[in-house]
């Protein structure tokens, strides 16, 4: 089964990633929070897309108070989950986002 369109975009793990990190940084999120979210999504990779979407939305709603920027991002992506491979691709995307955020922050700090 093919991933749905947003997950096939050439900039899904490129420019989109940079824009998302800028949003999260503005929202005071840490790479570690993103890494935790990536693990949450990874745990749902085997679930059907409908279930993954529902559970991610639930997770994001619960996380809204503590990590609003990350919760907003997660809600956005949860709404785009359509096919089986999407969830695993989203988990990989969030892992990259956490690692990129860490690399960018480490560079800024020095």
């Amino acid at each position: 089964m093919q991933p749905s369109a947003p997950f096939r975009d050439r900039e899904f793990n490129g420019a989109t990633l940079l824009e998302e990190w800028a949003e999260l940084r503005a929202g005071q999120e840490s790479p570690l929070s993103v890494a935790h979210a990536a693990l949450e999504v990874r745990a749902l990779a085997a679930a059907p897309a409908v279930e993954a979407r529902a559970r991610l939305s639930q997770w994001a709603t619960a996380a809204r108070q503590h990590t609003p920027a990350l919760a907003a991002l997660m809600l956005r992506w949860a709404g785009r989950l359509r096919t089986a491979p999407d969830t695993a691709l989203l988990a990989g995307h969030l892992e990259r986002l956490a690692l990129l955020g860490e690399a960018l922050e480490n560079g800024r700090r020095k």
Partner: protein, 288 residues
């Protein structure tokens, strides 16, 4: 001997001290850190002062590329790192680059957190045991990870029991940041050289990118050097296209991997970048 001759021996130390303090101030350290630093170096002669603010190889090995550059530019940071290593030597502690906390002076600990915008993390968040109450140089207890393991010239992590050739390979360990650690990713520094020719560096780079791991790199050209983050690789024709982001300029560009292998100018940093100098290579930990 002239009056000039009498005062001359003191002048170089004074000049060096003034230069060192100017650089530390320019690096943005708070007044209390600068004061403590000034007091600590006040009685050092020129040679001792030079030595104190020049990063020792052992301290340099525990830093990534940009960390090393920063420590070389900022004498206070170099002094802190050297001092931490000297403390460890005195205590007979083994070298464990990946477990070393960043050395911060006084109020810088708070400044660091506010600058990054990161939330304060507990030792549990970091996957570490709480640090003993002996102060900021305390080392968190941590199980050995691949970030601690020496690597061989083959470019992959050495397995237990495997002969180590780390002394021959210009690669070294790196402090594992918390998110990477949580995701089971370890980093090692791989420098271009006889053990890692450009072709091999490119293979490692593409391998990591295809695995979904962004790679930090130091790039250079005839007249420019820059830190870049390779974001992704895609198959393109018989080779790969790579996407590179340069945080300092905000540039992001795609280019053919073959161009980087051949040392061609890249469409980034004013087309002056053309060679890989060093990679901070991520890899999945086998124990993750």
């Amino acid at each position: 001997m002239s009056a000039r001759g009498v005062t001359e021996p003191e002048l170089p130390a004074e000049r060096l001290r003034a230069e060192v303090l100017t650089r530390a101030r320019a690096a943005g350290h708070p007044p209390e850190s600068l004061r403590a630093f000034a007091e600590a170096v006040a009685h050092l002669d020129e040679a001792a002062l030079w030595q104190a603010v020049t990063l020792v190889p052992r301290a340099a090995a525990a830093l990534d590329i940009s960390g090393r550059l920063a420590a070389e530019l900022d004498p206070l940071t170099a002094w802190s790192l050297n001092r931490a290593h000297a403390d460890e030597d005195a205590l007979g502690l083994p070298t464990r680059g990946s477990a070393r906390p960043r050395i911060l002076v006084g109020a810088e600990e708070d400044r660091e957190l506010s600058l990054t915008g990161a939330k304060r993390l507990s030792a549990r968040d970091l996957g570490e045991s709480p640090a003993p109450p002996s102060g900021r140089h305390a080392r968190p207890a941590q199980a050995p990870s691949l970030a601690d393991a020496p690597t061989g010239p083959s470019g992959r992590f050495a397995r237990p029991g495997e002969p180590l050739a780390a002394q021959q390979a210009p690669s070294s360990r790196h402090v594992a940041p918390p998110a990477a650690r949580l995701l089971g990713v370890a980093h090692r520094r791989v420098a271009a050289g006889p053990a890692f020719p450009t072709g091999r560096m490119m293979e490692l780079l593409v391998e990591a990118l295809l695995e979904g791991l962004p790679v930090e790199a130091q790039l250079s050209g005839p007249s420019a050097t820059g830190r870049g983050i390779f974001l992704q690789a895609r198959e393109a024709g018989s080779g790969h296209a790579l996407q590179l982001h340069v945080p300092a300029t905000g540039e992001t560009a795609w280019f053919n991997a073959q161009d980087l292998r051949d040392g061609a100018a890249l469409p980034i940093l004013g087309r002056r970048v053309c060679a890989l100098v060093e990679l901070l290579l991520p890899g999945r930990r086998e124990d993750a």
